[in-house]
Structures are given as C-alpha cells and as structure tokens.
C-alpha cells in the first residue's frame, strides 16, 4: 500500500501563523479526513499540496514523484475543490467549463455532462448567480470529470444542504471503488464526511495532533463522565482535556485501557465521537499553553 501524498517535515511561517514540522503519508486508495478547528492550518496545508503556497522547508511528494519537478503533471491527476469560489464570476458555467477542459489530458466531456445533469447546473447561468452550494457542485463536477486519481477538497460541505451532503458521500465512495483513487478532504465540521473516512488527520495550531485509522480511534480514546470528587491529582493527569461543570466533569483520556482500569467502576466510560476528541484535545492544549 503506497502513499499518494508524502509530506516530509514541512514548515511554513505566515506572519503570525506557523505550520510546524508536518510529516504525513496519505494512503492511496482511501479517504483521509483532515480535521481541526478554524485557523489550524488545514487550508495552508492543502495549498502547499496544490503548489499555491511554497513551504519554507521540507519536501512534498505526490504519486511518488517530487512535487517541485512534476507539479503540472501531478496536478493533471488532481481534482481540486477549493473552500471558496475560484472561478471567473462573470463567465457562464458553460464558458468556464470551456476554459478549463483543454488543460486536462484526461478530460471527459460525457462524464462532465452526466454531473452537470445530476447537479442540475444550468450551462447558461453565470458563476456569480450560482448559490454557494451550486458553486461547490460545479467545482465538484469539474474535479470529477478529468479522471483524477486524487481528489483534494477543502471544506467541501460548507454551503451544502444536508440532502446533498449525503449524496456527496455516495459520489465519493463511488470514486474510490477504483482502489488506486484516493480522497483527502478538510473539514471543521466533523459530523460531515467522517463516516466514510478511513484515516483521520487531526491538526491544531499548525501541528499534527494525530494521524490514525478512524477504526483505531475508538480503541484508543475514552470519554469519561463522572462526579468531581473523582478528580484527584493522579486521575487528572490521565486526561487530555477536561470540562468541569457544577454537576460533574467530562473528559477525554488518550490511553483507553489505562483509563478503563482506573475509572470503569466509578464513572461512565464511553467511546468518544470525533467531535469530542477534537474538542477536548483543543481544550487541553489551550490549558497547557
């Protein structure tokens, strides 16, 4: 199983913001979700993969090829959905498609036609007159119409209604029916796409907090709820982050088996959701700062 994206010790300073020592291998054939709060560095990371932002240090490899040398050829194999509209607003859907199509060596007009119909995109409409959701759909139609081996989507679900979000799951799982195709998407809304994600990369404050198989997360983390009297100094040390209220506490433990050993009898132990893992990790890192 090879990596379709390899990031090797990437650094980037951006005024007051820093991405620090990002090393990551995105598995070919799977869906990887890049999660993290707003401003964590998700978009910057994606921009580096797209060659829009140059890393200060570090190496990027795509499809096993050095990114600097093979950037155009690599991008020919990428379907990119930006977090904002990047198309010319004054052009119509049809004109814009006409502008884009010739740049891709594997552009497939029939596939595009299929998605245009599926998404109910009217060719004569100007990009600026499309709703936010429609703009995302247009972007998706383009990304899916040139035989891309890798889909890179930056916050694709913002602006999409719940119905289409579900349909998107179908489109994406359809895409990776071919085992050589991969998807990476970013989101700050963890209930969105993570049900189909195989791997989760959690990034906070410019650093990778973890990169795990989603399947393994449930066995690693433990959510504990209980009375505050349980929280002595030793117990506190187990927690990654704790939220205390007048009626008790709720906290996340990274070492599930250890947590269960200490607290199974006295507190409620649950499997945390991705959102809970994200919340307590961010909260915990805030406290330590």
């Amino acid at each position: 199983m090879s990596d379709c994206i390899r990031l090797d010790h990437l650094h980037k300073s951006y005024g007051h913001f820093q991405l620090q020592d990002i090393s990551l291998g995105v598995k070919e054939g799977y869906i990887t979700g890049l999660i993290g709060p707003n401003g964590a560095g998700k978009t910057t990371l994606i921009k580096m993969i797209m060659g829009m932002v140059h890393p200060d240090q570090g190496e990027i490899q795509l499809f096993g090829l050095d990114h600097k040398e093979h950037l155009p050829a690599n991008k020919d194999r990428i379907g990119y959905v930006s977090d904002e509209n990047i198309y010319y607003e004054q052009l119509t859907v049809k004109q814009m498609k006409k502008v884009i199509a010739p740049f891709y060596s594997r552009w497939d007009e029939d596939t595009y036609g299929k998605y245009q119909e599926l998404f109910k995109l009217s060719p004569g409409k100007k990009i600026k007159d499309l709703s936010k959701g429609m703009k995302v759909k247009f972007s998706l139609a383009i990304a899916l119409s040139h035989g891309a081996d890798l889909l890179i989507m930056d916050e694709p679900t913002s602006g999409l209604d719940p119905v289409f979000r579900r349909e998107l799951l179908d489109l994406l799982t359809e895409h990776i029916q071919d085992e050589r195709k991969s998807i990476i998407f970013s989101t700050h809304n963890t209930t969105d796409l993570d049900r189909i994600a195989d791997y989760i990369v959690f990034i906070n404050d410019g650093r990778i907090v973890f990169h795990e198989m989603k399947e393994a997360l449930a066995e690693k983390y433990l959510l504990v709820k209980g009375g505050k009297e349980l929280l002595d100094r030793d117990v506190r040390r187990l927690f990654l982050g704790i939220r205390e209220s007048a009626h008790g506490f709720e906290g996340l433990i990274q070492n599930r088996s250890e947590g269960e050993r200490y607290l199974k009898e006295t507190a409620i132990c649950e499997t945390p959701s991705l959102e809970e893992i994200m919340y307590f990790s961010v909260k915990g890192s805030d406290i330590r700062v």
């Binding site: 060659g51 829009m52 050829a73 990047i86 198309y87 004054q90 502008v99 010739p102 740049f103």
Partner: protein, 212 residues
C-alpha cells in the same frame, strides 16, 4: 505550448464583452480627436491588457490558474504573448478608424503607417513595465498600478509627440521613412527586445516565488 494558447483564449473570452464596449468608445473618441489618431492606437491594447490582468486577480482567480496543471512560467508567458492579439486589436481598430475618417471625408491623406507602427511598438514596451509591477504588487496593488498606467496612456499622446521632437532621427524617419544610419535602429531594436525579455524574467521570478 498549447497551454499558453488556451490561456490566451481564456483572456480573450474574459475581455470579449469589454471589447464590445471599448471599440465603439475608441472609434468615437478617435474620430473626434482625429489629429492624433495614430497615437490613440496604444489605447485599446493597453486597456485590454489591464482589463485581463485585473480580472485574474479580482476574486480568487489566481488560485484557479495555479490549480491548473500548468507551470507558473506558462501563466506568465501567456500574459506576455497576449500582447500580440491585443496589439492586433489595436491595429484593426486604428485601421477601421482611418477607414471611417477617410470615407466620411475627415481625412484625405494616406494612413500614417510609420507613426502607427511606432505607437504599436510602444505598447509592448509599456506592457513590459506594467506586468512586473502587476505580478509584484498583486491583488491590492493592481488598482494603483492600473490607475497610474491609465494616466500614463492619457499623457502618452503628448509625451510621444514630444519624444519624436527630441529625437530628430526618429522624426525624420516618421516623416520620410529614411534613416541616416543603420546602427541606430539596430541598437534601438536590440534594446527593445532586451527590455521585453528582462521584463519577462522579472515577472516570472516574482510570480514563481509568490504564495497565492
């Protein structure tokens, strides 16, 4: 190579609407100020270039361009190559203007093609100052650069006639088509190409290093 052509086509699609407005405006303006009609030749080409550049940075369109499987070098090259079609538009516009003026009896003389050639030649030169600034200053600076260059074009009409006066050899050529020496035009020509080439290298360097 095809990529550059597709990029130029993209620019032409983008400016085509603007062109439909620009050409009648130009014809009316040129007709009413017919005395210096050849000098106006600079106007459509430069405006089209500025327009196409501005449209690329208006929203997040540079992000779009970079997302394409095209090296940045070709994005820059295409902008320089687009000088040709814009120049052509200018040439056609000026010929049209002359034709209208000739047919309506506004002028009886022949087309001042040497003056016209000189003006059209000034366009790439102007563009080679505009483009590096455009790439350097990016989205925010473009508006300022645009303003300055539009002012420059306005002034260029009088400036150009002054220039011709200052350079007797040039004015001699414009009026008679004869040159005293071969060397001078050759040096001027080489300098001209050098300026264009350096401009391209600077733009490329600036844009290649940029984070979008």
């Amino acid at each position: 190579m095809y990529n550059s052509l597709y990029l130029i086509r993209k620019d032409l699609i983008l400016v085509q609407k603007f062109m439909l407005l620009l050409i009648p405006y130009y014809l009316v303006m040129g007709y009413t100020n017919f005395d210096g009609y050849t000098l106006f030749a600079l106007f459509p080409a430069m405006i089209l270039l500025i327009n196409s550049c501005t449209l690329d940075v208006q929203q997040n369109n540079q992000k779009f361009l970079i997302s394409l499987p095209v090296p940045r070098q070709q994005l820059v090259l295409a902008k320089y190559l687009a000088i040709l079609p814009y120049g052509l538009v200018s040439l056609v516009c000026t010929m049209l203007l002359y034709l209208v003026a000739f047919l309506s009896g506004r002028t009886t003389g022949p087309l001042a093609w040497r003056e016209l050639a000189l003006c059209l030649a000034a366009f790439p030169l102007l563009a080679s100052f505009y483009l590096p600034l455009y790439y350097w200053l990016g989205r925010k600076g473009t508006q300022v650069v645009n303003f300055v260059f539009i002012m420059l074009i306005m002034l260029s009409v009088s400036a150009a006639s002054k220039l011709v006066e200052w350079l007797p050899g040039l004015s001699h050529w414009v009026s008679t088509g004869k040159t005293d020496s071969i060397l001078l035009p050759v040096i001027a020509g080489l300098g001209y190409v050098l300026v264009l080439f350096c401009s391209y290298l600077i733009s490329l360097r600036v844009f290649a290093a940029k984070d979008i």
